[in-house]
């Protein structure tokens, strides 16, 4: 009996000692700590198929294992484009035909040479209705692309992309679009290996099947736990400085911060807003303006917001600074429509806080007697931050206009459905740039926009947006956007911008070369570890 006891004791101590030893110098998956950048990507990437994915988590990984024809210079505040798979891109005089020179000598991870056909295959796949890609509309500016996507033509050679005799690309657009080169940096337009996709079908993005050409390659994809990227030794450019990127999928922000504090994470890209005041004082904290806006839209179909004077009164009655001060995350009050840091941004654009004028406008609109004002609802999707902003606006409207607003929150998808069918009098939404061009924001309020839930539309406004997008002269373009913004945010006011967005991150002191940027596009090849 005593022998058995000794055995059990021995076993237990072995278990305990093996189980509890901390792995010094090693990150998870046995990776060497000194060569592993440990980041948190918040959630399982829904897909690493770059023709299909639509979320930021997936694109973060895709942007590090793949490359587009062009890439952003993230050190440049203007986000100019630099060569990637393309070495030059030149428009004809009307910017409707683009000649794109491709880099020679680029190899995929399986050793195959990169060619123009891979780009054409990528675009064909994106536009093919059978792919059902949500980003297909990205290329609708290309000649016949929309028709191909809608199945109206089935011959892809009619779509405006082809390879010339030198193996370079020629792209023909329906209409000139100044922002076209930006699209070439987006993962939806990346080249693809059709043979690999066809061979492995839905499994083609598994680590053992996927073929890429970026600075990193996909080594491990442990679903719902982590992704490991390894340096691609065959990368055409300067090789990645850190050998591995270990990306955890930790959804709970406070959990991630705990891991960061216990030295298990080097980079956390999303911080809990309630803790920002305290986090901001830390040396690991960094923030950067993001190309995104937070706004309230009016339902202009019904009273009282069918009256432009009421809309203006509300725009004058909200002190945006009070809201950004409360949020304390570095957000910048915004009254124009283009976010801070983007071409076309104007600090003076839009209606400023002026409660006196607001009251005057409201009285002109026939609401001297406030009790005659219809009951209005302010809608937002259930979320603590949106709740805080909504309560603040509610209090400001009560104080500055003497009106009561009812707050109504709904679960996200229910809210989206209500916006389509029956939007509340005032609704909250935001917009993050797909590409750093004002068109991406100005288009939001055009008549054809699926994202304009105000019921407001204007031919004048549409013509501004249409005109500006094809302009090649930068100054003329800036002027047109200025006029369009004036029309939108000062005269017609179908929506009130509140603030320009900011991203907050924590970066460990051992990380060097990780650049925060307005596109929250994190590229790890230049990151080194101390």
């Amino acid at each position: 009996m005593s022998n058995i006891r000794i055995l059990v004791f021995a076993l237990l101590t072995t278990f305990l000692s093996t189980g509890c030893t901390k792995k010094e110098g090693k990150a998870d998956y046995g990776l060497p700590l000194s060569e592993t950048l440990r980041i948190n990507i918040l959630q399982e990437p829904p897909s690493l198929d770059w023709s299909k994915s639509v979320d930021t988590t997936s694109s973060l990984i895709e942007n590090n294992i793949m490359e587009g024809l062009v890439e952003y210079d993230l050190n440049d505040p203007e986000l100019s484009l630099v060569p990637a798979l393309a070495t030059a891109w030149k428009p004809n005089s009307t910017a409707s035909i683009w000649n794109i020179t491709l880099r020679k000598g680029v190899k995929w991870t399986d050793g195959v040479d990169f060619t123009a056909q891979h780009v054409i295959d990528g675009w064909e796949r994106l536009l093919n209705p059978a792919t059902a890609s949500q980003y297909a509309y990205f290329l609708f500016g290309v000649k016949n692309a929309q028709k191909y996507n809608e199945g109206k033509i089935t011959d892809f050679s009619q779509v405006g992309i082809r390879a010339d005799a030198d193996g370079n690309l020629v792209v023909e657009l329906e209409k000139p679009k100044g922002y076209f080169p930006y699209l070439l940096a987006h993962h939806a337009t990346f080249p693809i290996r059709k043979d690999v996709v066809e061979k492995h079908k839905d499994r083609w993005t598994d680590p053992e099947n996927i073929v890429t050409l970026g600075a990193y390659r996909l080594k491990i994809w442990d679903h719902d736990k982590a992704i490991v990227l390894e340096r691609n030794e065959g990368y055409y450019g300067e090789k990645a400085k850190t050998k591995y990127v270990l990306a955890y999928m930790i959804n709970e922000m406070s959990t991630a911060i705990n891991l960061f504090d216990s030295g298990k994470l080097d980079f956390q890209s999303s911080l809990p807003s309630r803790e920002l005041r305290q986090l901001r004082s830390r040396k690991e904290y960094r923030e950067a303006g993001t190309l995104g806006i937070y706004y309230y839209g009016f339902n202009t179909r019904t009273p009282p917001f069918n009256d432009v004077r009421v809309r203006r009164a509300f725009a004058h009655a909200i002190d945006r600074k009070q809201i950004t001060d409360m949020l304390a995350g570095g957000q910048i009050p915004l009254s124009g429509w283009v976010p801070v840091g983007m071409f076309g941004y104007e600090a003076d654009r839009g209606l400023k806080f002026d409660p006196e004028l607001a009251n005057k406008l409201l009285e002109e609109a026939g609401f001297k007697d406030r009790s005659k004002f219809p009951k209005i609802k302010l809608g937002f999707n259930t979320n603590e931050d949106h709740q805080r902003v909504a309560e603040n606006v509610q209090a400001q409207i009560r104080k500055n206009l003497g009106l009561d607003i009812e707050l109504a929150n709904e679960e996200w998808k229910v809210y989206l459905a209500s916006l389509k069918s029956n939007p509340p009098s005032i609704y909250r939404l935001g917009w993050l740039a797909d590409y750093p061009d004002p068109d991406n924001f100005m288009n939001l309020m055009s008549s054809a926009s699926e994202n304009n839930h105000t019921g407001w539309s204007s031919k004048t406004y549409d013509s501004y947006v249409d005109k500006a997008v094809s302009m090649t002269n930068k100054e003329e373009r800036r002027k047109t956007y200025s006029e369009a913004q004036k029309f939108l945010t000062e005269m017609e006011v179908p929506a009130v911008p509140i603030y320009s967005m900011v991203s907050q991150i924590l970066v460990s002191p051992r990380v060097e070369g990780l650049k925060e940027n307005p596109l929250t596009r994190y590229i790890f090849k230049g990151v080194s570890l101390k």
Binding site: F15, Q134, K225, I250, A256, K264, K413, V414, L416, W431
Partner: protein, 361 residues
């Protein structure tokens, strides 16, 4: 007909063996899959043998048929309720052009009449095909479930063991010292255990044990140092409920005539309490165990989120906000199947714990 009594040569050694396996997983000892499979096969075979031996085959058969019907009803109800829920899987902040949305809906057959979709779903279900996720492109639902269930089951089993290990003795002690200070102390603990939410307990424990003492890891799922805190948080809540149930039940049994007889015959207080009283007090605990086990091993969203455990709890909740219909159906089915099986097992165990209960048809 005889009532079921588990063969002593079968039950206890098997239970100890399983316990050994569980303890081994806790210390991250890798166990070859054939050990798991043979243990499962032996258990099933033994259970089957007992079912026949004690004439419960018809009863179990009837219950299994009933269970199938229950699961089918749950699947159908979930399927229909999902379609009543406003908002679809492909609604997003950046609204899609209608033609693209139509193409996507066509791909996932969401453009078909509801009845056709329902038919396809049920046919797939019978063939064991739960379809593909709308959110995680190209990933099969069965695959997602198979990848996320193990961590939840692992945590769940540890938490359950802890819950019974603490809950039952505490309940007995509280009853034994009824209305004296151990009773008051234990019940105060139990009430706070039930009422203090885990999202409050967990951060406090993390603060003390990870950042204060440095004993455990604050999150992730990679060894004993990671397992202890989540097990503690999840297990003690269940322990609190069990302790209260046991106490109430023991207090009732302790007054029974046969206990007085036992005492008069000179049985020691501990023999009485742990052999005669306890066994007869376990019926309410057993009743509670069905839903408890199903609930705990299918994952706790809050605990899994706080400790970043890659379990199924997250899918249970997030699939709904994503309107990922196939995944919602998958997680619902997993939960209902486990619940139905646990309830059946509990009913069978009644007969073992209490010979007065007969389970014949």
């Amino acid at each position: 007909m005889m009532t079921g009594r588990l063969n002593l040569a079968f039950g206890p050694p098997l239970a100890i063996f399983w316990l050994g396996l569980v303890v081994a997983t806790f210390f991250d000892v890798s166990i070859p899959s054939f050990v798991w499979w043979s243990a499962a096969a032996y258990t099933l075979a033994g259970a089957f043998w007992h079912t026949i031996r004690y004439g419960m085959l018809a009863y179990v058969g009837k219950r299994l048929v009933e269970s199938l019907i229950t699961v089918a009803v749950i699947a159908s109800a979930t399927f229909l309720l999902l379609r009543v829920l406003p908002g679809g899987p492909f609604d997003s902040e950046k609204a899609l052009p209608p033609e693209i949305k139509a193409a996507i809906e066509k791909k996932y057959q969401l453009d078909q009449p509801l009845l056709v979709q329902y038919g396809n779903f049920m046919v797939g279900l019978v063939q064991g095909d739960l379809g593909e996720s709308y959110k995680y492109l190209g990933r099969n639902i069965s695959e997602i479930l198979a990848e996320s269930l193990p961590a939840s089951v692992q945590l769940g089993v540890y938490a359950l063991l802890l819950a019974y290990l603490i809950g039952i003795p505490f309940g007995v002690l509280a009853a034994r010292y009824h209305n004296r200070w151990p009773d008051h102390l234990l019940m105060a603990l139990a009430i706070s255990g039930v009422s203090v939410p885990s999202f409050l307990v967990a951060p406090i424990l993390i603060l003390i044990f990870c950042f204060g003492l440095g004993w455990f890891e604050p999150a992730l799922w990679d060894g004993p140092a990671y397992y202890i805190l989540p097990t503690w948080v999840l297990g003690t809540r269940a322990a609190a409920v069990i302790a209260r149930l046991v106490r109430a039940s023991v207090l009732e049994v302790i007054k029974a005539d046969y206990i007085r007889t036992g005492r008069a015959k000179g049985l020691s207080e501990s023999t009485l309490l742990f052999k005669h009283v306890l066994r007869n007090s376990l019926i309410p605990v057993l009743t509670f165990s069905g839903p408890l086990i199903a609930g705990i091993i299918t994952g706790s969203f809050v605990v899994e989120q706080i400790f970043a455990i890659p379990g199924i709890g997250k899918h249970m909740v997030l699939s709904v906000s994503n309107r990922d219909y196939p995944l919602i159906l998958g997680t619902t089915l997993v939960f209902s199947v486990i619940l139905v099986v646990c309830n059946l097992l509990v009913d069978l165990l009644y007969a073992y714990v209490d010979p007065r209960i007969k389970l014949n048809v």
